[in-house]
């Protein structure tokens, strides 16, 4: 629950974080770093969207994740709404406020600055149902945003039925005929069905493996390439509030001493880069038959979660032990994201960010590069955030 108004009604401890016109992840993290914000900061944090006009859904998801971290220790986060009403409409359309209420388990007025409480219910211009002129692919993207194929979707994960319903609804969204037509034109390969079949399926299957997750938020958007957008992509991201991949694997290691449950079906070679460490560390090559031990640090555990056959799940001798592809979900995911779609995969856990992408160094014997970043003044997030980025082309 949100703490009561009285606890925080003290303007001296309010820390305002003005987000600029464009709310994207890089910008967001820069602002947080500059302001020295931490998720365990006791001050009331006021995320100020007043000047914001455009929102990257992954940035919004990251804000929700950070807010989720703070709320577990009864630390408050509030929002100032965008002044431009079109921007406010975008937040409404993407269902940002519903998601924020569920993450915070608080009614919306508790999450807003007093001046904004009235405004949030003001009705902006009715979402226009007509197609605007302009690039046909852009029109379809707009239509799919209105249809909520793109945007934020919130799911409860209380029981098996709810988890199945999430999978079913998402696969339905990602096989929308219009979306498929868009993918066939703007994604690499000839794999329009593979967005649902592999990327969405594996990213959500992964969420279902996280213990104690009660909520998942799926965020997605697509930008078709234009001259003014250098890195256009289809982005699909999922955040859940369950135990982190790292904690879960560590528990498996402590209790069983080993988290390799099956031999790696094939051998990939990774070049591991570490950023944000106190002293520079040389890159290291590692193959997918590597396994962590109790002495491995959090970053190594997160890296290990990518590897096929690594799982916190015990071989319990029951039905699960029949599954020789246990622990292969993220392996299938990065393979497809990188090999088929020529994209990249990011996993955020705590204050660690892992990026896996194709190796481009000509002299390297690795196929993939894993970058591990930590300790750059970025606040911790709760749960797990997985982001697949599939570049779009003309």
């Amino acid at each position: 629950m949100q703490p009561s108004e009285a606890d925080v009604d003290n303007s001296t401890v309010v820390r305002e974080i003005p987000l600029g016109e464009s709310v994207d992840l890089q910008h967001l993290k820069d602002v947080f770093r500059q302001r020295g914000i931490r998720s365990d900061d006791d001050a009331l944090t006021l995320i100020d969207f007043r000047g914001s006009r455009t929102f990257d859904v992954v940035a919004l998801l990251w804000v929700l994740a950070m807010m989720g971290t703070r709320i577990t220790s009864e630390r408050l986060t509030r929002f100032r709404l965008p002044v431009v009403s079109a921007a406010l409409d975008v937040l409404r359309r993407d269902r940002f406020f519903e998601a924020a209420c569920q993450v915070a388990q608080a009614p919306l007025p508790m999450l807003l600055h007093l001046e904004d409480v009235k405004r949030v219910h003001e009705h902006g211009p009715a979402a226009s149902g007509t197609w605007t002129s302009g690039d046909p692919s852009d029109q379809i993207v707009q239509h799919l945003r209105r249809k909520r194929v793109f945007g934020l979707s919130l799911y409860r994960l209380d029981n098996a039925d709810a988890r199945t319903a999430m999978m079913r609804e998402e696969l339905g969204r990602w096989t929308d005929p219009l979306a498929l037509a868009l993918f066939s034109r703007h994604l690499k390969g000839t794999a329009e069905w593979d967005v649902a079949r592999v990327v969405v399926h594996e990213i959500l299957a992964n969420v279902q493996e996280h213990p104690n997750a009660s909520t998942a938020v799926v965020a997605s958007d697509m930008v078709v390439p234009r001259d003014d957008v250098p890195q256009a992509a289809l982005t699909i991201a999922v955040w859940d509030d369950g135990d982190s991949i790292v904690d879960t694997l560590r528990r498996g290691l402590v209790s069983r001493g080993d988290v390799r449950v099956a031999a790696a079906p094939a051998t990939d070679t990774f070049r591991i880069r570490r950023e944000g460490t106190d002293r520079p560390v040389a890159d290291e090559l590692r193959t997918s038959d590597w396994k962590p031990d109790v002495a491995s640090d959090d970053r190594d555990l997160l890296m290990a979660s990518l590897l096929p056959g690594i799982s916190s799940k015990a071989d319990d001798g029951g039905a699960r032990s029949r599954d020789r592809l246990l622990g292969c979900g993220l392996y299938f995911l990065y393979h497809h994201v990188i090999d088929v779609f020529q994209g990249s995969l990011d996993i955020y856990v705590g204050a660690i960010r892992l990026t896996v992408e194709a190796e481009h160094e000509p002299d390297s014997s690795a196929q993939y590069v894993v970058t591990l970043r930590e300790g750059l003044g970025i606040p911790k997030i709760r749960g797990n955030l997985v982001v697949a980025r599939l570049p779009t082309h003309g």
Binding site: W131, I140, A181, W193, P265, F332
Partner: protein
């Protein structure tokens, strides 16, 4: 090389909640395909589909067991064995990586234990990882190989010792077409998904007329898009300049998506216009294909053509309409000519012709009774009285032939109703809409979990219900939906005689396949398979409920198999307010499409009432 081949079919149906026989037509298709790959005479074993429901996808390893099962080890030099795994009945998005990998592992394992075996996979999805799993199991030094036939007819050989697949046949449009015909011709698919809503609707923007039907293709966007794309492609070939699609959606917002999808696929522009829009947003030159949702009299179409020409556009001579009114079509099957400003156009229908039963509002009983024509898209669960009674009274009523009690009515037992509505004919005529209404009601009953598309309906095996379940199946793209229990079994259950039921229940999965096939025990096997799972939706349905007797029999049989029904959906409930529950079991909600309370029973009616259902 063997002289003859025997096919062991493994037809995988992902996202399905039950199994069904593989039809002869399909086996014939396999025989021809295998004869094309391996020379010689070919036979195919009778078989049933292997299914993994949506929830079961997470334990895809089950597929491994089912592919391995019942493949004989044959050393026969004359007759070779081909294991044929067919994924073409599964939606692409459900052929997930683990499913493909376990298929590769299973085939690899079979080849290792049975070196003479041939394996052929019909696979609609590309890049599944099946090959890698196969190579991992077989190992690089083994001569084993399998053949994958893709949806476009191209064929590759996957050898354990080679990293890359070897293409052995280029794409073959004829195969792709045959396969589509086999799986379900697009016209059938479209027909099954088009919904004729019975109600009281506006006729276009007319104040003068109203209609009894509204035709809705919003569940068939994919099929409409595909057929529209074919016509636009023909036009594109005959068009000198760049082509655009102008779609006009009077009452069908979904048509915008059809226009946009076709345009995106063909790389051309699309401009949607709605009723009353001016055409100012349209370009002033170029060739336009006009796409409409419905053509009734053709006046709107003529006005549109005039407007587009005045704007400077060249309207292509083929006008595409999803629906054309039967009256306007006259004797023609699917198109009619239209002249505007001395130019001739041809309006081509995508779906079949429609008859909307138009009435002048001054003569419409409903309008006269003060009922306003409704918005077809604002429908509610259940069936309105006016509509239900119209259906019930369209045909002569008939003596009740099927009902509880002794099937031949030779021994003393509850008598049947002397007259009941002719449900077979009602379902033949209105079944699409009633099927939609049942799905809608089940959806309203369920919260979360398995979607209605994976629900299984259990009903008596009788002609009327067969007609209705065919319509339900068509709605879901020919996936199996119903378990039909023979009346003699229901009658025995009434008397708590489960001897035959128990024989079926004992014959679980995989044990007595051949015996089951011989004895037409489809329903028992279907229920055994349903019983293995715990999170599917099973609902019981029937044409009408008189006294809960048949419903209780179905519940008893389900309980014998360990299955709990989610709800009972009779089309008509004549026993409202009653509770449906087996001793010691939970109450099963009754959710009828319509209720007709039985009045207080008179002495004369007592015989009928004793019948009931």
């Amino acid at each position: 090389m063997a002289e003859r081949w025997r096919i062991i079919p493994k037809v995988i149906r992902l996202g399905s909640a039950t199994t069904e026989d593989v039809p002869d037509e399909r086996l014939r298709f396999y025989r021809e395909l295998v004869a094309d790959v391996h020379q010689g005479a070919v036979s195919a074993e009778p078989s049933q589909t292997i299914y993994l429901s949506f929830e079961q996808l997470r334990s895809a390893w089950q597929l491994y067991d089912r592919i391995i099962a019942d493949v004989p080890t044959s050393e026969d030099p004359v007759e070779g064995t081909v294991v044929l795994v067919d994924f073409t009945l599964s939606p692409h998005e459900l052929i997930i990586q683990t499913v493909a990998a376990y298929t590769g592992k299973a085939l690899g394992t079979l080849l290792l234990t049975n070196p003479g075996l041939e394996a052929l996979v019909l696979m609609p999805a590309m890049g599944t990882g099946l090959q890698q799993a196969f190579r991992d199991i077989v190992g690089a030094h083994h001569p084993g190989h399998l053949i994958i036939q893709y949806g476009d007819g191209s064929r590759v050989r996957v050898s354990a010792g080679q990293v890359d697949d070897e293409q052995i046949q280029p794409p073959d449009p004829e195969y792709a077409e045959q396969l589509q015909r086999l799986n379900q011709p697009i016209d059938d698919r479209l027909g099954g998904k088009i919904l004729r809503r019975l109600g009281h609707y506006r006729f276009g923007s007319s104040e003068k007329y109203c209609t009894r039907y509204f035709f809705d293709a919003s569940y068939a966007i994919q099929e409409v898009s595909q057929l529209t794309k074919d016509i636009v492609l023909e036009e594109q070939n005959g068009s000198a300049g760049p082509l655009m699609i102008v779609s006009h959606q009077a009452h069908s917002p979904w048509l915008v998506e059809v226009g946009a999808e076709v345009a995106q696929r063909l790389g051309i522009r699309h401009f949607p216009v709605s009723a009353g829009d001016d055409l100012a947003n349209l370009p002033t030159s170029g060739d336009a294909v006009l796409l409409l949702d419905v053509v009734n009299t053709g006046r709107t179409t003529e006005a549109l053509i005039g407007g587009l020409c005045a704007r400077g556009l060249v309207v292509r001579p083929t006008i595409i309409a999803v629906f054309i009114d039967r009256e306007r079509l006259g004797q023609a099957r699917d198109s009619f000519p239209m002249a505007v400003d001395r130019r001739t156009y041809r309006v081509r229908g995508v779906a079949g012709p429609i008859a909307r039963r138009k009435t002048e509002r001054t003569r419409c009983e409903q309008c006269l009774a003060g009922i306003h024509p409704a918005d077809p898209l604002a429908d509610r669960p259940g069936i309105r009285s006016y509509d239900m009674w119209e259906m019930l009274l369209t045909h002569e009523w008939v003596p009740e032939k099927y009902g509880p009690g002794d099937p031949d009515q030779t021994s003393p037992g509850p008598p049947r109703f002397s007259l009941v509505p002719d449900f077979t004919r009602i379902f033949e005529e209105y079944g699409d809409w009633i099927a939609y209404k049942l799905d809608e009601m089940l959806e309203a009953t369920r919260v979360g979990g398995a979607g209605v598309e994976e629900a299984v309906y259990v009903c008596p095996a009788e002609p009327a219900m067969n007609t209705l379940t065919d319509q339900l199946k068509a709605r879901r793209g020919a996936r199996p939906v119903a378990v039909k229990i023979p009346r003699r079994i229901l009658w025995a259950a009434e008397r708590d005689d489960f001897s035959e039921v128990d024989r079926h229940a004992e014959l679980g999965w995989g044990r007595q396949l051949s015996r089951l096939a011989e004895q037409d025990m489809g329903w028992g096997r279907q229920l055994s398979l349903l019983a293995e799972r715990d999170s599917y939706a099973v609902a019981i349905i029937d044409e009408f409920n008189g006294s809960n007797t048949t419903a209780l029999s179905m519940l008893k049989i389900l309980r014998r198999f360990g299955i709990t029904a989610l709800a009972y959906l009779p089309v008509i409930n004549r026993n409202p307010g009653s509770a449906l529950r087996l001793a010691g079991g939970p109450e099963v909600p009754i959710r009828p499409l319509y209720e007709i309370p039985s009045p207080r029973l008179s002495v004369l009616d007592a015989a009928d009432a004793a019948g009931g259902r």
